[in-house]
C-alpha cells in the first residue's frame, strides 16, 4: 500500500494543482513542492525501512497487487494482468533517487519558470507518478503503461517551456523514444502470448527456458527501446537536442531519472528476464557502451554550448552504465547500478548549475564566459565539486561506480574495458576544458562582471545532492548494501545462463576467461 501511496501521491498533487485558479502561482508552486517533499519523505522512509530480504529470495518487503484486467490468451483462457507494484533493491534505489530529486527540481523552477506555472507543476507531478510507476511495476503491461505515460509530460515540458528550437527537440525526443517503445510493445505482446502471464516474477522464472533465438528477438526489441532511452550509441542524437532545449528542471529530470528508466529496463528486462540472450548479446552491448563512452566524450569535447556539452557527457556516462551492466559480472552489475544513481546526482547538479548561470546571463555559450570564478566564487566551488564528482574523483560518488564498471568489464572483456577507460581521460578533458573556459581566466566581459553569486535558495536546493555525492563516495555500502542481494541473484542467473550457452557459441570472444577467481 505504501507503494501505491508513493506512486499516486504526485498525481493527487497534480489534481490539487489543477483545482487552483490559474493566477494563484504561489499556491501552485507550494502544492507542488509540498507534494514532492511528502513523496521524498515517504521515499526516504521506505529506503530506511527496507530490509534486505533473506537469501532465500523471500517476498519483498513492499509489494501491492490487484487484478487489473484480463487479456485473451489461448483457447478462451485469459491472461490476468495485475496492477502490481513491488520493490526490490534495484527499484528501491531508483525510486529513492526519483523521490529525492523531485523537490529539488521543483525548487529550482522558482528561477526559470515564470509562465504557465500551473500547467508546469501539473506535468511535473504527473511525470513523477509515471517515473515511480515505471520503476515499481512488476507486471509487464503495467510497466509499459507507465513507461509510455512518463513520456508525455516531458514532451510538454520541453515543448512549452523550452528554448528556441524546442518544437524540433521535443518532437524528435517523443517520436524517437516512441518508435523504440512500440517495438517493445510488440515484444511484450509476443511474450504474453508465449507465456500467458505478464507477471514479471513468473516471467523471470520462465523465460530463461525459452529457446535462445526467441529470447534474442525479445531482447532485441527491449534493448532497442531501452537503448534509445538510455541513450545508447547510435540512438543518442535526440538527447543533446532535448537537453539543450529543455528548461533546467526538465533537463534535470531527464538526466536524473528518465534516462535511468532505460538503464533500469536493460537491467530488469534484458538481463534479469532474458539472461541467455543477455549473455549472447553482451559483447555487442559492451561494445556499444564502451564506444559510447569514448564517442560521447569526444562529442562533448567539441561542444561550445555548455548545456549541450553536459548532454553529450551523459551519453558518455551512460555508456559506462551499459558497459558495466553487460559485463555481466558482479562488479559490473553493481557498478552499473551505482553509476545510474551517480549520474543522476552529478549530471543533475551540472544541469542545475548551468541553469542558474543561464538565468543570470541568458547565455550558455562557452565563449561568452571567462573568469566567472572571480565574480561567483560559490558558484565556482559548486561547479568544480560537481565536475570532479562527474569525472569520477575518488572520495566522491562517481569513482566507485566507474571503478566497479571498469573492473567488471575488464573481467569479461579487457578490450572494451580499456576503451572505456579512455573515457576516464577524456572525461577530465572536456569537463576541465569547460571549467577553465567558463570559470578561469580574467573576467573582462562587463556582462559577466555584473553576475551575482548563488543565493540561499540555490545553495539549499543543491545541498542534498552535494551531501549525497560525498556520502555515496565515502560510504557506498550504505546504499549498495540494499541492492547487493538482488544484484547477486541476477548475477547468479547470468552465470547459469553463461554456462548453458557457453557450449553453444563463444560468449565473449575477447576474453580469455577470468583467471584465479
Amino acid at each position: 500500500m505504501e507503494l501505491v501511496l508513493l506512486t499516486f501521491l504526485p498525481l493527487l498533487g497534480a489534481l490539487a494543482v489543477l483545482c487552483t485558479p490559474r493566477a494563484a502561482e504561489g499556491l501552485q508552486r507550494g502544492i507542488a513542492l509540498a507534494t514532492t517533499l511528502a513523496v521524498a519523505v515517504l521515499g526516504v522512509k521506505l529506503f530506511l525501512g527496507y530490509d534486505v530480504p533473506g537469501g532465500d529470495g523471500a517476498a519483498t518487503p513492499y509489494s501491492f497487487s490487484l487484478p487489473w484486467f484480463q487479456l485473451p490468451w489461448r483457447d478462451g483462457t485469459p491472461t490476468q494482468v495485475h496492477f502490481s507494484l513491488a520493490m526490490d533493491g534495484i527499484s528501491l534505489l531508483m525510486v529513492t533517487l526519483t523521490a529525492v530529486l523531485m523537490p529539488i527540481v521543483i525548487l529550482s523552477t522558482w528561477g526559470h519558470v515564470e509562465k504557465r506555472v500551473k500547467e508546469f507543476m501539473v506535468w511535473m507531478l504527473v511525470m513523477q507518478t509515471g517515473m515511480l510507476g515505471t520503476f515499481l511495476a512488476v507486471d509487464l503491461v503495467l510497466f509499459y503503461f507507465f513507461w509510455e505515460v512518463s513520456l508525455i509530460p516531458l514532451y510538454f515540458l520541453v515543448g512549452i517551456w523550452g528554448g528556441e528550437q524546442r518544437l524540433y527537440a521535443t518532437v524528435k525526443f517523443f517520436l524517437y523514444t516512441l518508435a523504440g517503445s512500440l517495438l517493445m510493445m510488440v515484444a511484450i505482446i509476443a511474450i504474453l502470448f508465449d507465456r500467458g502471464t505478464s507477471d514479471l516474477g513468473e516471467l523471470i522464472a520462465q523465460l530463461g527456458q525459452t529457446p535462445l533465438e526467441q529470447q534474442l528477438w525479445y531482447f532485441a526489441a527491449f534493448a532497442l527501446a531501452f537503448g534509445i532511452k538510455v541513450p545508447l550509441l547510435p540512438f543518442h542524437t535526440w538527447l543533446p537536442d532535448a537537453h539543450t532545449q529543455a528548461p533546467t528542471s526538465g533537463s534535470v529530470v531527464l538526466a536524473g531519472v528518465l534516462l535511468k528508466m532505460g538503464t533500469y529496463g536493460l537491467l530488469r528486462f534484458c538481463i534479469q528476464m532474458l539472461p541467455d540472450a543477455a549473455v549472447a548479446a553482451a559483447p555487442w552491448m559492451m561494445a556499444l557502451g564502451a564506444i559510447g563512452i569514448l564517442y560521447g566524450a569526444l562529442l562533448a569535447w567539441a561542444q561550445t554550448d555548455l548545456k549541450r556539452l553536459i548532454a553529450c557527457s551523459s551519453v558518455s556516462h551512460l555508456g559506462y552504465v551499459v558497459l558495466g551492466l553487460f559485463a555481466l559480472t558482479p562488479a559490473g552489475l553493481s557498478g552499473g547500478m551505482l553509476q545510474m544513481v551517480n549520474h543522476g546526482i552529478s549530471t543533475g547538479l551540472l544541469f542545475l548549475l548551468v541553469g542558474m548561470l543561464y538565468e543570470r546571463r541568458h547565455s550558455r555559450a562557452l565563449d561568452a564566459f571567462g573568469g566567472v570564478a572571480t565574480v561567483m566564487p560559490l558558484f565556482a566551488l559548486f561547479w568544480v565539486f560537481t565536475v570532479l564528482s562527474s569525472a569520477g574523483l575518488p572520495g566522491l560518488n562517481g569513482f566507485v561506480g566507474e571503478y566497479l564498471i571498469l573492473l567488471g568489464s575488464f573481467q569479461s572483456s579487457p578490450l572494451w574495458s580499456v576503451i572505456g577507460l579512455t573515457g576516464v581521460i577524456f572525461g577530465a578533458v572536456y569537463l576541465l576544458m569547460a571549467t577553465r573556459k567558463m570559470l578561469f581566466g580574467a573576467c573582462t566581459n562587463p556582462e559577466n562582471q555584473r553576475l551575482t553569486d548563488l543565493n540561499a535558495r540555490e545553495i539549499v536546493l543543491m545541498l542534498p545532492l552535494v551531501v549525497l555525492a560525498v556520502w555515496l563516495g565515502v560510504r557506498p555500502n550504505d546504499f549498495m548494501g540494499k541492492v547487493e542481494p538482488d544484484l547477486a541473484e541476477v548475477g547468479r542467473r547470468v552465470a547459469v545462463a553463461r554456462q548453458s550457452t557457453a557450449a553453444l557459441e563463444p560468449v565473449t570472444p575477447l576474453t580469455e576467461g577470468v583467471a584465479a577467481r
Binding site: L298, P394, L404, R436, F440, C443, P476
Partner: protein, 663 residues
C-alpha cells in the same frame, strides 16, 4: 589480527590536515561573505595559516611518535595498522579501508609532514596578502591529507584515492592564480596527463585483482614474495600489471613520456612547487614501486624498461635544464631529471637507494624551490634569471641556504645528494650489461646537473645586477620564510648520514630500516643471474669519479656564467637549433600537441560535425524528412477527381481478384 584495530590514532595523521583544510576553507568562505559587505574584512582568513601549520605540526608529531613506536618493535613486526573492514563490499569487490604504518610509509610520512610543515610555515609568509590566502591553505592541507592517504593506505584502492586526491590538489594549486589564464591551462594539462597515468594505474589494479583477488598491498607483496613459480599466463599478467602500474607512476612522477606537465606546473605558487612538484607528490610513483617491490622484482622485462625510462627522463630533464632562463623551470626540469634517477634506481632493483634519493631530494629540492621563491618574492615576482644577478648582497640568508641546496643537488662530495646519487649509479653499474649504458647516461646527467645548478647559482646571485633598479628593489624575505630555508639547508647537508656507502663500513641506516619491506623484492632479484656486488676498489673508483664529475662541472658551470648572460647568448647564437630543442625539452611537448592533441581535437570535431550531426543525426532527421516527402507525394493521388478515384477502386478490385486467385 588484533593489532589491526589497536592503532586507531593512526587516522589522526591524515585527518588532522583534512580537518585543517575544512577549517581553513570555512574561513575562506567567511572571508568571501565578509567581502560582500566590508571591503577589507579578510580577518578570518588570516587565521588560516595558524590552523594549517598547527595541523601539520600535529601530524608531524604523530608521525614521529609512530616512527619511534615502530623502532621499539622487532624489525619483522614493524607495522602498525588500523583497518575499517568492508569499506566497500560491492559486486564481489571487498576492500578494507586501512592505514598501515611500516618502515616505508613511516619514512614517507615523516618527509611529507616534516618538509610539509616547513613549507606551510614558509607559505604563510609567501602568500601573505593574496586574496585567496585561506583557500590556499585549505588546498595545501587537503593535499597533505591526500598524500598521507596515499602512503598510509593498506590497499591499492586507498592508494588510488590518495593518488587522485593529490592530483586534484595539484590541479587546484597549479591553477591557484586562475585569473591569469595560463596557470589554469597548466592545471588542466597536469590533471589530464595524470589521468592518462591513472588510467594505466586502474588497468594495473584490475590485473592485480585478477591475479590475487585482492587489492591489499601487504597480501600482494607477500604472495608474490612467497610464491615459488608462476604459470606463464600469471607471469605475463604480473609483468603487465607492473607495466601498467609503472604507467601510472610515469604520470604522477613525471617520467617520459608523461613528464611535460611538470614544468608547466610551475605556474602555481612557489611553495606548491616545492611541496607537491618536488618533495612529495611526484615521488609517489617511487613509493608505489617500492611498496610493491616483489611484484616489480618478479615482473621480468619491466624492470629494465623502468630503468631505461628513468635514465632517459634523467637525461632529458638534465639537458633541458641547461638552457632555461626561468629559475623555476630550471628547478622543474631538474626535478624531472632527479625523478628519472630514482626510477633508474628502481629499475636497477635498488629500492632503498631510490627512497634514499627521494628523501634527500625532498630536502634539497624543497630548499631550492623555497629559495627560488624567496628570490622571486624579493624580486617582485620576477622569475627570469637573465634579469637577476648579484643578489647575494641583497638576500644573504637566501643565498647561503641556496648554496647548500645547490651543492647537495649537484652532488658535491659528502653532501646528501652526493651519497644518494652515487648509490644509484653504483647499483646501476653493478647490474652490468645494459645497465653499463644506463650508468653512463646517469653519469652524464650528473655532469649536466652540476653544470646547470651552478649556472643557476651564478646567474642569480653573482655577476652584475641586471634588473631595473627603479622598479625592483630586491630585499631579503622575512624570518618566517628564511627559517624553513635554514632548517632545510641543514638537512640537505647532513641528510647523507641516512645512507652512507658500504665502503665506509658504516650501516646504511635507511636500507636497514626498510629491509622488512624490501627484502622480498631483493630476494627475488637475488635469484636471477647477474653481477650484484661491486668490489670495494671499484666502489672507491666510482665514488671518486662521481666527485670529480660533480666538482668539475660545478666549477665549469659556475665560471661560465658568473659574469652574466654572455655564455647563454653565445650558445644560442652558435647552436640555435640545439638551443631551441633543448629549451623546449627536446620538443616533446610541442610534438604532443601536434601528434596527439591536435588529431584528437580534429577527431572530436569530426565526430561532432560529420559523424554525429551529418551521418547519424542526418539519418534520423532524414527519416523525418523522407516521411514528409512521402506525405507530399502521396497527396497527388487524391486529386479530387471522381474518375480517378473510381479508377483506383477498379484497379484495386482487379488487383485483389488477381491476388486471391493467385494465392
Amino acid at each position: 589480527m588484533p593489532s589491526h584495530e589497536s592503532h586507531a590514532w593512526l587516522w589522526w595523521i591524515p585527518l588532522l590536515p583534512l580537518l585543517g583544510s575544512a577549517i581553513a576553507g570555512a574561513l575562506h568562505l567567511a572571508t568571501l561573505r565578509a567581502r560582500h559587505g566590508d571591503p577589507q574584512a579578510s580577518a578570518p582568513a588570516s587565521l588560516a595559516p595558524w590552523i594549517a601549520c598547527g595541523a601539520m605540526l600535529g601530524s608531524f608529531v604523530l608521525s614521529v611518535t609512530g616512527f619511534l613506536e615502530l623502532r621499539e618493535l622487532e624489525p619483522a613486526a614493524r607495522h602498525l595498522a588500523s583497518t575499517a573492514h568492508d569499506w566497500i563490499s560491492i559486486g564481489g569487490l571487498d576492500v578494507d579501508l586501512g592505514l598501515l604504518l611500516d618502515p616505508l610509509s613511516s619514512v614517507m610520512t615523516l618527509v611529507i609532514t616534516g618538509v610539509g610543515f616547513l613549507i606551510h610555515v614558509y607559505a604563510s609568509g609567501y602568500m601573505k596578502g593574496d586574496k585567496g590566502y585561506g583557500k590556499f591553505f585549505a588546498y595545501l592541507n587537503l593535499f597533505v591529507f591526500a598524500m598521507l592517504m596515499l602512503v598510509l593506505s593498506s590497499s591499492l584502492l586507498g592508494v588510488f584515492i590518495g593518488w587522485e586526491g593529490v592530483g586534484l590538489c595539484s590541479f587546484l594549486l597549479i591553477g591557484f592564480w586562475y585569473e591569469k589564464g595560463w596557470p589554469a591551462e597548466a592545471a588542466q594539462k597536469a590533471f589530464v596527463m595524470n589521468r592518462v597515468g591513472d588510467a594505466c594505474f586502474l588497468i594495473g589494479s584490475f590485473l592485480l585483482i585478477r591475479l590475487f583477488d585482492t587489492l591489499d598491498l601487504a597480501t600482494i607483496a607477500h604472495t608474490v614474495g612467497s610464491t615459488v613459480s608462476f604459470t606463464d599466463e600469471q607471469a605475463l599478467d604480473m609483468s603487465l600489471a607492473a607495466l601498467f602500474l609503472f604507467g601510472g607512476c610515469c604520470g604522477k612522477s613525471a617520467q617520459f613520456p608523461l613528464f611535460t606537465w611538470l614544468p608547466d606546473a610551475m605556474a602555481g605558487p612557489t611553495p606548491v612547487s616545492a611541496l607537491i612538484h618536488a618533495a612529495t607528490m611526484v615521488t609517489s610513483g617511487i613509493y608505489l614501486v617500492v611498496r610493491l617491490n616483489p611484484l616489480f622484482a618478479a615482473s621480468g622485462w619491466v624492470l629494465p624498461l623502468i630503468a631505461i625510462v628513468g635514465a632517459l627522463t634523467a637525461l632529458i630533464g638534465g639537458s633541458t635544464a641547461l638552457v632555461q632562463r626561468d629559475i623555476k623551470k630550471v628547478l622543474a626540469y631538474s626535478t624531472v631529471s632527479q625523478l628519472g634517477y630514482m626510477f633508474l634506481a628502481l629499475g636497477s632493483g635498488a629500492w632503498a637507494a631510490a627512497l634514499f634519493h627521494v628523501v634527500t631530494h625532498a630536502f634539497f629540492k624543497a630548499l631550492l624551490f623555497l629559495g627560488a621563491g624567496s628570490v622571486i618574492h624579493g624580486m617582485h615576482e620576477e622569475q627570469d634569471m637573465h634579469k637577476m644577478g648579484g643578489l647575494r648582497k641583497h638576500m644573504p640568508q637566501t643565498y647561503i641556504t641556496f648554496l647548500a641546496g645547490a651543492a647537495a643537488l649537484s652532488g658535491l662530495p659528502l653532501l646528501s645528494g652526493f651519497f644518494s646519487k652515487d648509490e644509484i649509479l653504483a647499483h646501476a653499474f653493478a647490474n652490468g650489461g645494459l645497465y653499463y649504458g644506463l650508468w653512463a647516461v646517469g653519469a652524464l646527467t650528473a655532469a649536466l646537473t652540476a653544470y646547470y645548478t651552478w649556472r643557476m647559482v651564478a646567474l642569480t646571485f653573482f655577476g652584475e645586477e641586471r634588473f631595473d633598479h627603479h622598479h625592483v628593489h630586491p630585499h631579503e624575505s622575512p624570518l618566517v620564510m628564511t627559517l624553513p630555508l635554514m632548517v632545510l639547508a641543514v638537512l640537505s647537508i647532513l641528510g647523507g648520514v641516512l645512507g652512507l656507502p658500504p665502503v665506509l663500513h658504516v650501516p646504511h641506516l635507511l636500507a636497514e630500516w626498510l629491509a622488512p619491506v624490501t627484502d622480498a623484492g631483493n630476494k627475488i632479484l637475488a635469484q636471477s643471474p647477474g653481477e650484484h656486488h661491486l668490489s670495494h676498489a671499484l666502489e672507491w673508483v666510482l665514488l671518486g669519479l662521481g666527485s670529480a664529475i660533480a666538482l668539475g662541472f660545478a666549477h665549469t658551470g659556475f665560471h661560465a656564467h658568473r659574469h652574466g648572460t654572455a655564455q647563454d647568448e653565445f650558445f644560442a647564437r652558435k647552436r640555435p637549433t640545439l638551443a631551441a630543442t633543448l629549451g623546449d625539452a627536446w620538443t616533446i611537448d610541442s610534438r604532443y600537441a601536434r601528434i596527439i592533441v591536435l588529431p584528437l581535437r580534429m577527431l572530436s570535431f569530426l565526430i561532432a560535425v560529420v559523424v554525429d550531426q551529418f551521418a547519424i543525426d542526418g539519418l534520423v532527421n532524414g527519416t523525418g524528412r523522407t516521411a514528409r516527402d512521402i506525405a507530399q507525394h502521396s497527396r497527388r493521388a487524391v486529386d479530387g477527381s471522381l474518375a480517378s478515384y473510381a479508377l483506383w477502386m477498379g484497379a484495386g478490385a482487379l488487383a485483389i481478384c488477381a491476388l486471391w486467385m493467385w494465392s
